[in-house]
Protein backbone atom coordinates (compact mmCIF):
# COMPACT_ATOMS: atom_id res chain seq x y z
CA UNK A 1 0.00 0.00 0.00
CA UNK A 2 1.04 3.54 -0.43
CA UNK A 3 0.38 4.76 3.05
CA UNK A 4 3.61 3.38 4.39
CA UNK A 5 4.11 6.67 6.17
CA UNK A 6 1.68 6.61 9.02
CA UNK A 7 1.08 10.33 8.86
CA UNK A 8 -0.61 9.96 5.49
CA UNK A 9 -4.00 8.38 5.63
CA UNK A 10 -5.40 7.21 2.35
CA UNK A 11 -9.01 8.19 2.17
CA UNK A 12 -11.39 6.49 -0.17
CA UNK A 13 -12.92 9.82 -0.86
CA UNK A 14 -9.67 10.95 -2.40
CA UNK A 15 -10.01 10.92 -6.16
CA UNK A 16 -6.38 11.24 -7.14
CA UNK A 17 -5.28 8.46 -9.48
CA UNK A 18 -2.32 6.68 -7.97
CA UNK A 19 -0.79 5.46 -11.17
CA UNK A 20 -0.82 7.09 -14.55
CA UNK A 21 1.87 5.09 -16.25
CA UNK A 22 0.32 1.68 -16.31
CA UNK A 23 1.66 0.95 -19.78
CA UNK A 24 5.25 1.40 -18.72
CA UNK A 25 4.79 -1.45 -16.27
CA UNK A 26 5.31 -4.47 -18.50
CA UNK A 27 5.81 -6.83 -15.60
CA UNK A 28 2.87 -7.06 -13.24
CA UNK A 29 3.84 -5.95 -9.73
CA UNK A 30 6.99 -8.02 -9.45
CA UNK A 31 8.04 -5.55 -6.81
CA UNK A 32 5.41 -7.01 -4.52
CA UNK A 33 6.27 -10.65 -5.06
CA UNK A 34 8.00 -12.95 -2.67
CA UNK A 35 11.00 -14.66 -4.29
CA UNK A 36 9.36 -18.09 -4.24
CA UNK A 37 6.09 -16.91 -5.81
CA UNK A 38 5.47 -17.66 -9.45
CA UNK A 39 2.72 -16.32 -11.66
CA UNK A 40 0.75 -19.19 -13.14
CA UNK A 41 -1.64 -17.18 -15.25
CA UNK A 42 -3.19 -13.81 -15.74
CA UNK A 43 -6.90 -14.41 -15.40
CA UNK A 44 -8.17 -10.95 -16.28
CA UNK A 45 -6.59 -7.80 -17.65
CA UNK A 46 -7.78 -4.28 -17.04
CA UNK A 47 -10.25 -4.36 -19.96
CA UNK A 48 -11.77 -7.60 -18.71
CA UNK A 49 -12.08 -6.06 -15.27
CA UNK A 50 -13.81 -3.01 -16.66
CA UNK A 51 -16.33 -5.12 -18.60
CA UNK A 52 -16.97 -7.30 -15.62
CA UNK A 53 -17.68 -4.31 -13.39
CA UNK A 54 -19.99 -2.88 -16.09
CA UNK A 55 -21.92 -6.12 -16.10
CA UNK A 56 -22.18 -6.32 -12.33
CA UNK A 57 -23.33 -2.71 -12.17
CA UNK A 58 -26.14 -3.65 -14.59
CA UNK A 59 -27.06 -6.61 -12.38
CA UNK A 60 -27.20 -4.41 -9.29
CA UNK A 61 -29.48 -1.84 -10.87
CA UNK A 62 -31.71 -4.58 -12.23
CA UNK A 63 -31.89 -6.43 -8.92
CA UNK A 64 -32.95 -3.58 -6.66
CA UNK A 65 -36.08 -1.63 -7.49
CA UNK A 66 -36.06 2.13 -7.22
CA UNK A 67 -37.68 3.65 -4.14
CA UNK A 68 -40.75 5.94 -4.30
CA UNK A 69 -38.64 9.01 -5.05
CA UNK A 70 -36.94 7.33 -7.99
CA UNK A 71 -33.71 6.92 -6.05
CA UNK A 72 -31.65 3.83 -5.48
CA UNK A 73 -32.82 1.60 -2.65
CA UNK A 74 -29.45 0.01 -1.93
CA UNK A 75 -26.08 1.11 -0.63
CA UNK A 76 -22.62 -0.19 -1.49
CA UNK A 77 -20.22 -1.18 1.27
CA UNK A 78 -16.64 -1.76 0.17
CA UNK A 79 -14.50 -4.02 2.31
CA UNK A 80 -11.01 -2.78 3.05
CA UNK A 81 -8.82 -2.58 1.12
CA UNK A 82 -9.49 -3.39 -2.53
CA UNK A 83 -13.21 -3.87 -2.12
CA UNK A 84 -13.38 -0.15 -1.38
CA UNK A 85 -11.96 0.76 -4.77
CA UNK A 86 -14.11 -1.79 -6.57
CA UNK A 87 -17.24 -0.43 -4.86
CA UNK A 88 -16.22 3.06 -5.86
CA UNK A 89 -15.91 1.95 -9.51
CA UNK A 90 -19.38 0.44 -9.40
CA UNK A 91 -20.72 3.65 -7.93
CA UNK A 92 -19.16 5.65 -10.77
CA UNK A 93 -20.47 3.33 -13.46
CA UNK A 94 -24.03 3.46 -12.12
CA UNK A 95 -23.81 7.24 -11.97
CA UNK A 96 -22.54 7.47 -15.53
CA UNK A 97 -24.85 4.94 -17.15
CA UNK A 98 -28.06 5.33 -15.18
CA UNK A 99 -27.58 8.77 -13.67
CA UNK A 100 -28.32 7.29 -10.25
CA UNK A 101 -26.51 8.19 -7.04
CA UNK A 102 -25.58 5.18 -4.95
CA UNK A 103 -24.31 5.74 -1.45
CA UNK A 104 -20.97 4.24 -0.56
CA UNK A 105 -19.54 3.15 2.75
CA UNK A 106 -16.30 1.56 3.84
CA UNK A 107 -15.99 -1.39 6.18
CA UNK A 108 -12.90 -2.71 7.94
CA UNK A 109 -13.40 -6.07 9.59
CA UNK A 110 -10.10 -6.32 11.46
CA UNK A 111 -11.84 -5.93 14.82
CA UNK A 112 -14.15 -8.84 13.99
CA UNK A 113 -11.71 -11.43 12.73
CA UNK A 114 -11.63 -14.88 14.26
CA UNK A 115 -7.94 -15.57 13.68
CA UNK A 116 -6.77 -13.07 16.27
CA UNK A 117 -4.92 -15.70 18.29
CA UNK A 118 -3.18 -17.21 15.28
CA UNK A 119 -1.17 -14.16 14.31
CA UNK A 120 2.26 -13.01 15.27
CA UNK A 121 1.30 -9.37 15.34
CA UNK A 122 -1.85 -7.39 14.95
CA UNK A 123 -3.03 -6.29 11.53
CA UNK A 124 -3.48 -2.57 11.06
CA UNK A 125 -7.01 -1.39 11.77
CA UNK A 126 -8.29 0.64 8.85
CA UNK A 127 -11.11 3.09 8.48
CA UNK A 128 -14.76 2.13 8.89
CA UNK A 129 -17.05 4.86 7.65
CA UNK A 130 -20.66 4.42 6.64
CA UNK A 131 -22.25 7.86 6.59
CA UNK A 132 -25.73 6.71 5.61
CA UNK A 133 -28.25 5.00 7.87
CA UNK A 134 -28.00 1.23 7.40
CA UNK A 135 -31.28 0.51 9.22
CA UNK A 136 -33.84 -0.82 6.73
CA UNK A 137 -31.41 -0.45 3.83
CA UNK A 138 -30.46 -3.07 1.28
CA UNK A 139 -26.68 -3.36 1.42
CA UNK A 140 -24.23 -4.84 -1.04
CA UNK A 141 -20.90 -5.88 0.43
CA UNK A 142 -18.13 -5.64 -2.15
CA UNK A 143 -14.84 -7.54 -1.96
CA UNK A 144 -12.16 -8.75 -4.34
CA UNK A 145 -11.79 -12.48 -3.61
CA UNK A 146 -14.11 -14.96 -1.94
CA UNK A 147 -12.13 -17.83 -0.47
CA UNK A 148 -12.83 -19.35 2.97
CA UNK A 149 -15.73 -16.99 3.65
CA UNK A 150 -14.32 -15.90 7.00
CA UNK A 151 -13.85 -12.28 6.01
CA UNK A 152 -17.48 -11.94 4.94
CA UNK A 153 -18.55 -13.64 8.14
CA UNK A 154 -16.65 -10.94 10.05
CA UNK A 155 -18.17 -8.32 7.77
CA UNK A 156 -21.69 -9.49 8.58
CA UNK A 157 -20.94 -9.26 12.30
CA UNK A 158 -19.57 -5.76 11.81
CA UNK A 159 -22.66 -4.65 9.89
CA UNK A 160 -24.94 -6.08 12.57
CA UNK A 161 -23.24 -3.83 15.11
CA UNK A 162 -23.88 -0.79 12.93
CA UNK A 163 -27.60 -1.32 12.52
CA UNK A 164 -30.22 -3.62 11.06
CA UNK A 165 -30.11 -3.61 7.27
CA UNK A 166 -33.16 -4.83 5.32
CA UNK A 167 -30.89 -7.28 3.52
CA UNK A 168 -27.22 -7.87 2.86
CA UNK A 169 -25.96 -9.09 -0.51
CA UNK A 170 -22.44 -9.99 -1.45
CA UNK A 171 -20.57 -9.06 -4.60
CA UNK A 172 -17.16 -10.43 -5.39
CA UNK A 173 -14.81 -10.22 -8.35
CA UNK A 174 -13.37 -13.71 -8.06
CA UNK A 175 -14.79 -16.75 -6.29
CA UNK A 176 -11.94 -19.20 -5.87
CA UNK A 177 -13.77 -21.91 -3.89
CA UNK A 178 -12.54 -23.70 -0.73
CA UNK A 179 -15.24 -22.33 1.54
CA UNK A 180 -14.97 -23.08 5.24
CA UNK A 181 -18.33 -21.57 6.15
CA UNK A 182 -21.82 -21.83 4.63
CA UNK A 183 -21.49 -18.61 2.65
CA UNK A 184 -22.05 -17.76 -1.01
CA UNK A 185 -21.84 -14.65 -3.16
CA UNK A 186 -24.88 -13.12 -4.87
CA UNK A 187 -22.92 -11.44 -7.65
CA UNK A 188 -19.78 -13.16 -8.93
CA UNK A 189 -17.42 -11.73 -11.52
CA UNK A 190 -15.60 -14.93 -12.31
CA UNK A 191 -15.48 -18.39 -10.76
CA UNK A 192 -11.95 -19.79 -10.69
CA UNK A 193 -11.16 -23.32 -9.54
CA UNK A 194 -7.94 -23.16 -7.53
CA UNK A 195 -5.62 -25.31 -5.45
CA UNK A 196 -5.06 -24.52 -1.77
CA UNK A 197 -1.42 -23.54 -2.36
CA UNK A 198 -2.40 -20.96 -4.95
CA UNK A 199 -3.45 -17.40 -4.44
CA UNK A 200 -5.71 -15.18 -6.48
CA UNK A 201 -4.50 -11.60 -6.55
CA UNK A 202 -6.75 -8.80 -7.62
CA UNK A 203 -4.96 -5.53 -8.33
CA UNK A 204 -6.58 -2.16 -8.88
CA UNK A 205 -4.85 0.80 -10.47
CA UNK A 206 -5.84 3.21 -7.69
CA UNK A 207 -3.79 1.27 -5.19
CA UNK A 208 -1.38 -0.93 -7.12
CA UNK A 209 0.68 -0.19 -10.16
CA UNK A 210 -1.30 -2.68 -12.18
CA UNK A 211 -4.83 -3.69 -12.85
CA UNK A 212 -6.07 -7.22 -13.33
CA UNK A 213 -6.37 -10.62 -11.72
CA UNK A 214 -3.53 -13.11 -11.45
CA UNK A 215 -3.20 -16.68 -10.27
CA UNK A 216 -0.04 -17.03 -8.19
CA UNK A 217 1.60 -20.16 -6.88
CA UNK A 218 3.02 -20.09 -3.37
CA UNK A 219 6.05 -22.29 -2.88
CA UNK A 220 5.45 -22.11 0.84
CA UNK A 221 1.87 -23.01 1.70
CA UNK A 222 2.34 -22.24 5.40
CA UNK A 223 2.41 -18.51 4.71
CA UNK A 224 -1.22 -18.83 3.68
CA UNK A 225 -2.53 -19.51 7.14
CA UNK A 226 -3.63 -16.01 7.85
CA UNK A 227 -5.20 -15.78 4.44
CA UNK A 228 -8.94 -15.70 4.74
Amino acid sequence: MHNSSLEVEVSIFDDTPRCNDRKTHKKPYFWSMEPQDTIKAQLLDSRDMERMLQRMARQLVEMFELDEDGGVSFGLVGMQTRGVYLAKRLQKIIKKVDGLDVELGVLDVTMYRDDFRMRGHQPVVKETRIDFDVDGRHLVLVDDVLYTGRTVRAGLDALTDLGRPASVHFLVVVDRGHRELPIRADFVGRKVPTLPGEEVRVRVSELDNEEGVWLVDHADVSTKEGDV
Binding site: M111, F116, R119, G120, V125, D157, L162, V228
Partner: protein, 326 residues
Protein backbone atom coordinates in the same frame (compact mmCIF):
# COMPACT_ATOMS: atom_id res chain seq x y z
CA UNK B 1 -9.69 -10.28 1.18
CA UNK B 2 -6.64 -12.41 0.75
CA UNK B 3 -4.07 -9.74 0.13
CA UNK B 4 -4.70 -7.46 3.02
CA UNK B 5 -2.91 -9.63 5.46
CA UNK B 6 -0.81 -12.13 3.57
CA UNK B 7 2.87 -11.45 4.03
CA UNK B 8 3.43 -12.76 0.52
CA UNK B 9 1.36 -9.97 -0.89
CA UNK B 10 3.52 -7.62 1.07
CA UNK B 11 4.12 -4.36 -0.67
CA UNK B 12 3.95 -3.14 2.87
CA UNK B 13 5.91 -4.57 5.71
CA UNK B 14 2.85 -4.25 7.90
CA UNK B 15 3.79 -1.91 10.74
CA UNK B 16 3.73 -3.30 14.24
CA UNK B 17 4.98 -2.52 17.72
CA UNK B 18 8.52 -3.60 18.48
CA UNK B 19 7.77 -3.72 22.18
CA UNK B 20 6.02 -6.44 24.11
CA UNK B 21 5.03 -4.15 26.98
CA UNK B 22 4.14 -0.49 27.37
CA UNK B 23 6.30 0.59 30.28
CA UNK B 24 7.06 4.11 29.12
CA UNK B 25 7.38 6.20 25.98
CA UNK B 26 11.12 6.73 26.48
CA UNK B 27 11.96 3.73 24.30
CA UNK B 28 9.09 4.03 21.83
CA UNK B 29 9.93 5.25 18.33
CA UNK B 30 7.97 7.77 16.27
CA UNK B 31 6.68 4.91 14.07
CA UNK B 32 5.31 3.01 17.03
CA UNK B 33 3.66 6.08 18.55
CA UNK B 34 2.25 6.96 15.13
CA UNK B 35 0.81 3.45 14.78
CA UNK B 36 -0.87 3.67 18.19
CA UNK B 37 -2.40 7.06 17.35
CA UNK B 38 -3.57 5.88 13.93
CA UNK B 39 -5.18 2.78 15.45
CA UNK B 40 -6.78 4.85 18.20
CA UNK B 41 -8.52 7.03 15.59
CA UNK B 42 -10.19 3.93 14.16
CA UNK B 43 -11.23 2.65 17.58
CA UNK B 44 -12.69 6.04 18.46
CA UNK B 45 -15.30 5.46 15.76
CA UNK B 46 -16.54 2.43 17.76
CA UNK B 47 -17.31 4.74 20.70
CA UNK B 48 -19.77 6.71 18.58
CA UNK B 49 -21.80 3.67 17.56
CA UNK B 50 -25.10 2.64 19.10
CA UNK B 51 -23.47 -0.66 20.06
CA UNK B 52 -20.16 0.37 21.57
CA UNK B 53 -18.54 -3.03 21.57
CA UNK B 54 -16.39 -5.07 19.21
CA UNK B 55 -15.39 -8.70 19.73
CA UNK B 56 -11.69 -8.09 19.06
CA UNK B 57 -10.18 -9.26 22.37
CA UNK B 58 -12.67 -12.02 23.12
CA UNK B 59 -11.08 -14.53 25.46
CA UNK B 60 -8.27 -12.25 26.60
CA UNK B 61 -8.15 -11.66 30.34
CA UNK B 62 -6.85 -8.36 31.65
CA UNK B 63 -6.18 -7.59 35.29
CA UNK B 64 -6.22 -3.99 36.45
CA UNK B 65 -3.77 -3.86 39.35
CA UNK B 66 -4.17 -0.50 41.05
CA UNK B 67 -1.94 0.05 44.06
CA UNK B 68 -2.77 3.74 44.11
CA UNK B 69 -6.14 5.48 44.08
CA UNK B 70 -7.34 6.39 40.61
CA UNK B 71 -10.74 7.12 39.16
CA UNK B 72 -10.28 8.33 35.63
CA UNK B 73 -7.46 6.05 34.51
CA UNK B 74 -9.01 2.94 36.03
CA UNK B 75 -12.46 3.57 34.56
CA UNK B 76 -10.89 4.46 31.22
CA UNK B 77 -8.89 1.24 31.08
CA UNK B 78 -11.85 -0.79 32.24
CA UNK B 79 -14.12 0.71 29.60
CA UNK B 80 -11.47 0.17 26.91
CA UNK B 81 -11.20 -3.48 27.90
CA UNK B 82 -14.95 -3.96 27.96
CA UNK B 83 -15.42 -2.24 24.57
CA UNK B 84 -12.99 -4.80 23.15
CA UNK B 85 -14.84 -7.71 24.83
CA UNK B 86 -11.90 -8.67 27.03
CA UNK B 87 -12.55 -10.22 30.43
CA UNK B 88 -11.49 -7.87 33.17
CA UNK B 89 -10.65 -8.26 36.81
CA UNK B 90 -10.15 -5.26 39.07
CA UNK B 91 -7.81 -5.19 41.97
CA UNK B 92 -7.26 -2.31 44.31
CA UNK B 93 -4.76 -2.34 47.12
CA UNK B 94 -7.08 -1.34 49.92
CA UNK B 95 -8.94 -4.26 51.46
CA UNK B 96 -6.74 -6.83 49.70
CA UNK B 97 -3.89 -9.11 50.61
CA UNK B 98 -1.53 -6.15 50.18
CA UNK B 99 -2.82 -4.75 53.43
CA UNK B 100 -1.81 -8.08 54.94
CA UNK B 101 1.76 -7.47 53.82
CA UNK B 102 2.00 -9.39 50.54
CA UNK B 103 4.63 -8.12 48.12
CA UNK B 104 3.96 -6.90 44.58
CA UNK B 105 5.77 -9.91 43.17
CA UNK B 106 3.73 -12.43 45.15
CA UNK B 107 0.46 -10.66 44.42
CA UNK B 108 1.18 -10.59 40.70
CA UNK B 109 2.41 -14.18 40.52
CA UNK B 110 -0.64 -15.39 42.37
CA UNK B 111 -2.97 -13.55 40.04
CA UNK B 112 -1.06 -14.78 37.02
CA UNK B 113 -1.38 -18.36 38.26
CA UNK B 114 -5.10 -17.88 37.65
CA UNK B 115 -4.29 -17.65 33.89
CA UNK B 116 -4.37 -14.08 32.73
CA UNK B 117 -2.94 -12.43 29.62
CA UNK B 118 -2.33 -8.78 30.40
CA UNK B 119 -1.71 -6.66 33.48
CA UNK B 120 -2.43 -2.95 33.79
CA UNK B 121 -0.39 -1.63 36.71
CA UNK B 122 -0.61 1.59 38.67
CA UNK B 123 1.93 1.82 41.48
CA UNK B 124 3.54 4.45 43.70
CA UNK B 125 7.06 3.22 43.01
CA UNK B 126 8.83 4.27 39.81
CA UNK B 127 9.93 1.18 37.91
CA UNK B 128 7.30 -1.13 39.43
CA UNK B 129 6.02 -2.19 35.95
CA UNK B 130 9.59 -2.93 34.81
CA UNK B 131 10.04 -5.10 37.87
CA UNK B 132 6.76 -6.85 37.16
CA UNK B 133 7.88 -7.89 33.66
CA UNK B 134 10.66 -9.86 35.33
CA UNK B 135 8.33 -11.86 37.57
CA UNK B 136 5.35 -12.59 35.31
CA UNK B 137 4.90 -13.69 31.68
CA UNK B 138 1.90 -11.49 31.01
CA UNK B 139 2.01 -8.33 28.94
CA UNK B 140 2.42 -5.33 31.23
CA UNK B 141 0.93 -1.88 30.63
CA UNK B 142 2.08 0.97 32.84
CA UNK B 143 -0.86 3.03 34.10
CA UNK B 144 1.41 5.35 36.08
CA UNK B 145 4.42 4.50 38.23
CA UNK B 146 5.32 7.10 40.84
CA UNK B 147 6.80 10.20 39.26
CA UNK B 148 8.28 8.20 36.38
CA UNK B 149 5.93 7.68 33.41
CA UNK B 150 2.25 7.55 32.51
CA UNK B 151 2.48 6.56 28.85
CA UNK B 152 -1.20 6.17 27.97
CA UNK B 153 -1.91 9.68 29.28
CA UNK B 154 0.79 11.11 27.03
CA UNK B 155 -0.58 9.12 24.08
CA UNK B 156 -4.09 10.48 24.59
CA UNK B 157 -2.63 13.97 24.94
CA UNK B 158 -0.82 13.56 21.63
CA UNK B 159 -3.97 12.21 19.98
CA UNK B 160 -5.89 15.25 21.22
CA UNK B 161 -3.18 17.59 19.94
CA UNK B 162 -3.23 16.02 16.48
CA UNK B 163 -7.03 16.32 16.43
CA UNK B 164 -6.78 20.08 16.87
CA UNK B 165 -3.43 21.04 15.38
CA UNK B 166 -2.58 18.34 12.84
CA UNK B 167 0.81 16.62 12.70
CA UNK B 168 2.99 16.96 15.79
CA UNK B 169 6.17 17.80 13.92
CA UNK B 170 7.23 21.37 14.61
CA UNK B 171 4.40 22.17 17.01
CA UNK B 172 5.15 24.16 20.15
CA UNK B 173 3.83 22.53 23.29
CA UNK B 174 4.25 24.19 26.68
CA UNK B 175 4.01 22.09 29.82
CA UNK B 176 3.29 24.27 32.81
CA UNK B 177 3.35 23.50 36.52
CA UNK B 178 4.51 20.76 38.82
CA UNK B 179 6.89 18.96 36.47
CA UNK B 180 8.95 17.60 39.34
CA UNK B 181 6.22 15.27 40.57
CA UNK B 182 4.61 14.67 37.20
CA UNK B 183 4.78 11.33 35.40
CA UNK B 184 2.47 12.84 32.80
CA UNK B 185 5.07 15.47 31.95
CA UNK B 186 7.87 12.93 31.61
CA UNK B 187 5.91 10.70 29.24
CA UNK B 188 4.77 13.70 27.25
CA UNK B 189 8.29 15.07 26.89
CA UNK B 190 9.59 11.70 25.63
CA UNK B 191 6.66 11.23 23.28
CA UNK B 192 6.54 14.78 21.92
CA UNK B 193 10.29 14.83 21.29
CA UNK B 194 10.07 11.51 19.45
CA UNK B 195 7.33 12.96 17.26
CA UNK B 196 9.35 16.07 16.46
CA UNK B 197 7.55 18.69 18.54
CA UNK B 198 9.18 21.52 20.49
CA UNK B 199 8.59 21.41 24.23
CA UNK B 200 8.71 24.31 26.67
CA UNK B 201 8.74 23.56 30.36
CA UNK B 202 7.51 26.27 32.68
CA UNK B 203 7.09 26.49 36.44
CA UNK B 204 8.58 27.83 39.63
CA UNK B 205 12.11 26.60 40.17
CA UNK B 206 11.37 24.24 43.08
CA UNK B 207 8.82 22.40 40.90
CA UNK B 208 11.19 21.79 37.98
CA UNK B 209 13.65 18.89 37.92
CA UNK B 210 17.29 19.50 36.99
CA UNK B 211 18.85 18.82 33.59
CA UNK B 212 15.59 19.10 31.65
CA UNK B 213 17.24 20.78 28.70
CA UNK B 214 19.56 17.82 28.28
CA UNK B 215 16.61 15.59 27.36
CA UNK B 216 16.88 16.83 23.79
CA UNK B 217 20.27 16.91 22.07
CA UNK B 218 19.13 19.44 19.48
CA UNK B 219 17.62 22.01 21.82
CA UNK B 220 13.95 21.13 21.40
CA UNK B 221 13.39 21.42 25.14
CA UNK B 222 13.30 24.94 26.57
CA UNK B 223 12.94 25.85 30.22
CA UNK B 224 11.46 29.11 31.45
CA UNK B 225 10.16 30.44 34.73
CA UNK B 226 7.85 33.01 33.18
CA UNK B 227 4.37 32.02 32.06
CA UNK B 228 4.30 34.71 29.37
CA UNK B 229 7.39 33.24 27.72
CA UNK B 230 5.84 29.79 27.76
CA UNK B 231 2.57 30.91 26.19
CA UNK B 232 4.07 33.18 23.53
CA UNK B 233 4.00 31.25 20.23
CA UNK B 234 2.68 28.07 21.84
CA UNK B 235 0.09 25.93 20.07
CA UNK B 236 -0.81 23.98 23.19
CA UNK B 237 -0.58 24.86 26.87
CA UNK B 238 -0.66 21.76 29.02
CA UNK B 239 -1.28 22.68 32.65
CA UNK B 240 -0.29 20.09 35.23
CA UNK B 241 -2.08 19.45 38.47
CA UNK B 242 -0.45 20.72 41.65
CA UNK B 243 -0.10 17.42 43.46
CA UNK B 244 -0.92 18.37 47.00
CA UNK B 245 -0.62 14.78 48.19
CA UNK B 246 2.92 14.41 46.90
CA UNK B 247 4.27 17.57 48.46
CA UNK B 248 5.95 16.71 51.71
CA UNK B 249 7.23 20.22 52.14
CA UNK B 250 6.07 23.53 50.82
CA UNK B 251 7.64 24.19 47.45
CA UNK B 252 5.71 27.40 46.82
CA UNK B 253 4.13 29.90 49.18
CA UNK B 254 0.43 29.37 48.51
CA UNK B 255 -1.93 28.10 45.83
CA UNK B 256 -3.18 31.66 45.45
CA UNK B 257 0.25 32.97 44.68
CA UNK B 258 0.81 30.04 42.32
CA UNK B 259 -2.34 30.97 40.46
CA UNK B 260 -1.22 34.59 40.21
CA UNK B 261 2.10 33.59 38.66
CA UNK B 262 1.41 30.39 36.74
CA UNK B 263 -2.34 29.94 36.49
CA UNK B 264 -3.80 30.26 32.97
CA UNK B 265 -6.53 32.91 32.98
CA UNK B 266 -9.06 34.26 30.52
CA UNK B 267 -6.75 37.15 29.63
CA UNK B 268 -4.20 34.66 28.31
CA UNK B 269 -6.78 33.07 26.03
CA UNK B 270 -7.66 36.52 24.72
CA UNK B 271 -4.03 37.46 24.15
CA UNK B 272 -3.20 34.20 22.33
CA UNK B 273 -6.19 33.42 20.10
CA UNK B 274 -4.74 30.18 18.69
CA UNK B 275 -3.78 28.71 22.04
CA UNK B 276 -5.52 25.56 23.23
CA UNK B 277 -5.48 24.46 26.84
CA UNK B 278 -5.11 20.90 28.07
CA UNK B 279 -5.01 19.37 31.52
CA UNK B 280 -4.55 15.71 32.53
CA UNK B 281 -7.07 16.11 35.35
CA UNK B 282 -8.31 16.23 37.97
CA UNK B 283 -8.30 20.03 37.74
CA UNK B 284 -7.87 22.25 40.77
CA UNK B 285 -10.10 25.08 39.59
CA UNK B 286 -8.60 28.44 40.39
CA UNK B 287 -5.09 27.02 40.81
CA UNK B 288 -3.63 25.71 37.53
CA UNK B 289 -6.50 27.04 35.46
CA UNK B 290 -9.01 29.77 36.17
CA UNK B 291 -12.49 28.34 36.41
CA UNK B 292 -13.63 30.18 33.25
CA UNK B 293 -10.69 28.70 31.34
CA UNK B 294 -11.72 25.15 32.25
CA UNK B 295 -15.13 25.76 30.69
CA UNK B 296 -13.78 27.68 27.70
CA UNK B 297 -14.29 26.24 24.21
CA UNK B 298 -10.55 26.21 23.65
CA UNK B 299 -10.02 24.00 26.69
CA UNK B 300 -10.04 20.46 25.27
CA UNK B 301 -9.96 18.62 28.58
CA UNK B 302 -13.05 16.49 27.93
CA UNK B 303 -11.80 15.57 24.45
CA UNK B 304 -8.72 14.23 26.22
CA UNK B 305 -10.91 11.99 28.36
CA UNK B 306 -12.78 10.57 25.35
CA UNK B 307 -9.51 9.98 23.53
CA UNK B 308 -8.23 8.18 26.62
CA UNK B 309 -10.58 5.26 26.02
CA UNK B 310 -9.71 5.07 22.31
CA UNK B 311 -5.95 5.20 22.95
CA UNK B 312 -6.17 2.49 25.60
CA UNK B 313 -8.19 0.30 23.23
CA UNK B 314 -5.45 0.76 20.63
CA UNK B 315 -2.68 -0.09 23.10
CA UNK B 316 -4.49 -3.20 24.36
CA UNK B 317 -5.19 -4.32 20.80
CA UNK B 318 -1.68 -3.76 19.44
CA UNK B 319 0.12 -5.29 22.43
CA UNK B 320 -2.17 -8.31 22.68
CA UNK B 321 -0.77 -9.58 19.38
CA UNK B 322 2.60 -10.19 20.97
CA UNK B 323 1.16 -12.80 23.32
CA UNK B 324 1.14 -15.29 20.48
CA UNK B 325 4.76 -15.17 19.44
CA UNK B 326 6.38 -15.40 22.82
Amino acid sequence: MSEISTPAAGQEASPSLKHRHLLGLETYSADEIGLILQTARQFREVLDRPIKRVPTLRGVTVVNLFFEPSTRTRISFELAEKRLSADTVNFSASGSSVSKGESLKDTAQNIEAMKIDMVVLRHVSPGAPHFLTKCVDSIVINAGDGAHEHPTQALLDMLTITDHCGALTGLNVSIIGDVLHSRVARSNIHGLLAMGAHVTICGPNPLLPLHLEEMSPNGRVRVTHRLEEALEGADIAMALRIQMERQGRNLFPSTREYHEQYGIKTEHLERYPALRVMHPGPVNRGVELASEVVDHERAVILNQVTNGVAVRMAVLYLLSGSSVTE
